[in-house]
């Protein structure tokens, strides 16, 4: 599924990723934990192709296809989805219009027919109900005036609508209260499947109580410095990142 090898990347000539190697097979959920500034968010932006991040060495492939050679929208059409830590506000574009535009653009890129308006609305009603999203909210400009929790819920809603093959969740728990965290986690867990992979980036162990990872990796100073089973997250929660900061 997702395979990252010796990935180096810089922002404004400053090296941030210094040789990340990581493999997430289909059907698995991997967590990346690490202190602030470790390069976790940079990794998510490099994988999705944000401007201003230059890859200086290494590779990243999704199902054997070189991600780094593709435009951001082409990566999305191949099934890569990033749930943003701070989802953007899109003034003047209703949420449903935005998502339908995205879905049809992806389908077009894959050579599939566009979804019709009735099909789309049926799907949207179904997924909104599952995530306890008021359907009227979807007629409003995307994320404009939404609370932090509502924005995160909209991210999960978009995920459910776009049905990506590989998900990256960047600090999805930040700004969520316990109830919102439960709804969001259930939404993510509903997407777990044998042919889908997930990378969950988080600073705290809390989210991993809800989205149980198969593997946990510790990132520090631009490298994966330790990997282990779910217990590793608990150990980090107890002992902190200090020992890995020194190891890096």
């Amino acid at each position: 599924m997702l395979k990252i090898e010796n990935l180096h990347a810089s922002v404004a000539d400053k090296p941030i990723l210094k040789g990340v190697t990581l493999e997430v097979p289909a059907g698995e959920v991997h967590a990346i934990m690490g202190p602030n500034g470790a390069g976790k968010s940079t990794l998510s932006y490099v994988l999705t192709g944000r401007q201003g991040y230059s890859v200086t060495q290494g590779s990243a492939t999704l199902n054997g296809e070189d991600l780094l050679a593709l435009e951001p929208n082409e990566r999305a059409a191949r099934g890569l989805f990033l749930s943003f830590q701070y989802p953007l506000e899109i003034p003047g574009v209703p949420a449903l219009t935005f998502i339908r535009t995205a879905l049809n653009a992806q389908r077009k890129a894959r050579g599939e027919p566009e979804v019709t308006a009735p099909e789309f609305l049926k799907l949207a009603r179904e997924k909104a109900a599952a995530l306890k999203i008021d359907f009227d909210m979807l007629k409003r400009a995307l994320n404009v005036g939404f609370s932090g929790g509502e924005k995160k819920r909209m991210e999960i809603f978009q995920m459910a609508m776009l049905s990506p093959r590989f998900l990256i969740l960047d600090e999805t728990d930040s700004g969520l209260d316990i109830d919102a965290l439960r709804i969001v986690s259930e939404g993510v867990n509903a997407l777990r499947s044998p042919d889908r992979g997930m990378l969950v980036i988080t600073h705290y162990q809390r989210l991993l109580d809800y989205i149980k990872p198969d593997r946990v990796h510790v990132m520090s100073a631009g490298r994966i410095v330790a990997s282990g089973g779910p217990d590793l997250a608990l150990e980090l929660e107890r002992e902190g990142y200090d020992k890995y900061a020194r190891a890096a």
Partner: protein, 346 residues
């Protein structure tokens, strides 16, 4: 100095230019060395305009000559009507100037669907509108331009409102070699209300100038203005908005907003919002912003699978949409949306 007087006297020295403060960004004197000959009469076919068949009638000017019944532009007290007013230029490299009168009687309501259209290249067109609103009259004026890229096109509307009359206008321009839509409003206060919205969507080397002057002469009047512009390539947008609140025009409420996006490094926007206040107890404000498209929002849309060009068009259309949504006449609003979409998606 005006284009109309230069054409009338066939005297380039009468063209407005850099020395006239109101024309320094749209310098016709510096641009035009020789005035083109007068446009010949044209009896040939005229394609449908940007408003299609909306409304109850049409007043068409071709090369400065009227076709159709100008009387449609005069509404007696209490009448309601929607009229297309089209200014079509159909002679290449020629010039013409025309004056039209619009009268809206007491309590009458006119929707004017006005368009400036080029069917030829390199023309020089001037149009003047003299608009009078009697007490309690309403005018919604929606202006769409479809001028040729190498044309010079100037429209000047002078609007005089009586007490409790309402003017609501939206100009949508895509520019020309030089294009100017100017609106001058004499506002009596006393319950009269003015809304002057507009947008300019420019590409290539087009130039559009949106100039408005509102003079509040009496107390208790309101003016609201929202202009949004987008310039791409090497185009240039000009906004000059002036609101004058004369002595005695107390309790005037005037708000002006001009917001623009520059989509390329070589595009330009010149803006001059002005409030001149000589009265007391007024509430006046203006806001002016010029910036680029939000790159983060753009990446967000791309990450969801929308190609960059389409994402740009979507965000730009949404930006302009705020102005178009304020058009009251539904058919005109749809025509304006189609007009904008066509310019953004190509």
């Amino acid at each position: 100095m005006s284009l109309a007087s230069a054409l009338r006297d066939h005297d380039v020295a009468r063209l407005p230019g850099k020395r006239d403060e109101d024309w320094r960004w749209t310098d016709l004197r510096g641009l035009i060395r020789v005035l083109p000959p007068g446009s010949p009469a044209y009896d040939g076919p005229v394609a449908a305009g940007p408003f299609g068949g909306l409304g109850e009638g049409e007043v068409l000017f071709v090369n400065g000559r009227v076709r159709g019944d100008e009387e449609l532009l005069t509404l007696a007290a209490g009448q309601t009507r929607t009229v297309r007013l089209r200014f079509v230029s159909a002679a290449a490299g020629a010039s013409h100037s025309v004056q039209a009168k619009v009268r809206v009687g007491a309590g009458a309501s006119l929707t004017l669907l006005e368009s400036y259209e080029g069917q030829a290249a390199g023309y020089l067109a001037d149009a003047g509108l003299d608009i009078v609103l009697e007490p309690g009259a309403r005018l919604e004026r929606v202006v769409l331009t479809v001028d040729a890229a190498d044309a010079v096109s100037v429209s000047t509307a002078s609007v005089t409102l009586a007490a409790s009359a309402r003017l609501s206008q939206c100009t949508l321009s895509d520019g020309a070699k030089r294009q100017r839509l100017e609106t001058r409003v004499l506002h009596p206060g006393v319950g009269a209300a003015v809304r002057l919205d507009g947008t300019y969507l420019l590409a290539g080397q087009r130039h559009a100038d949106c100039t408005t002057v509102v003079t509040h002469a009496g107390a208790d009047g309101t003016t609201e203005q929202l202009i949004k512009g987008v310039t791409a390539d090497q185009s240039r947008g000009v906004f000059q908005g002036r609101i004058v609140v004369a002595q005695g025009a107390d309790r005037t409420d005037a708000r002006m907003g001009h917001h623009a996006l520059i989509l390329s490094e070589r595009a330009e926007i010149d803006a001059k919002p002005e409030l001149e206040i000589y009265a007391d107890d007024v509430s006046c404000a203006h806001g002016n912003t010029v910036g680029a498209l939000d790159e983060e929002a753009l990446f967000y849309a791309e990450q969801r699978g929308i190609p960059a060009a389409q994402a740009r068009a979507m965000l730009t259309e949404a930006f302009i949409g705020e102005v178009i949504d304020r058009i009251g006449h539904e058919g005109a609003r749809e025509a304006a949306r189609a007009w904008a979409a066509q310019r953004l998606r190509t």
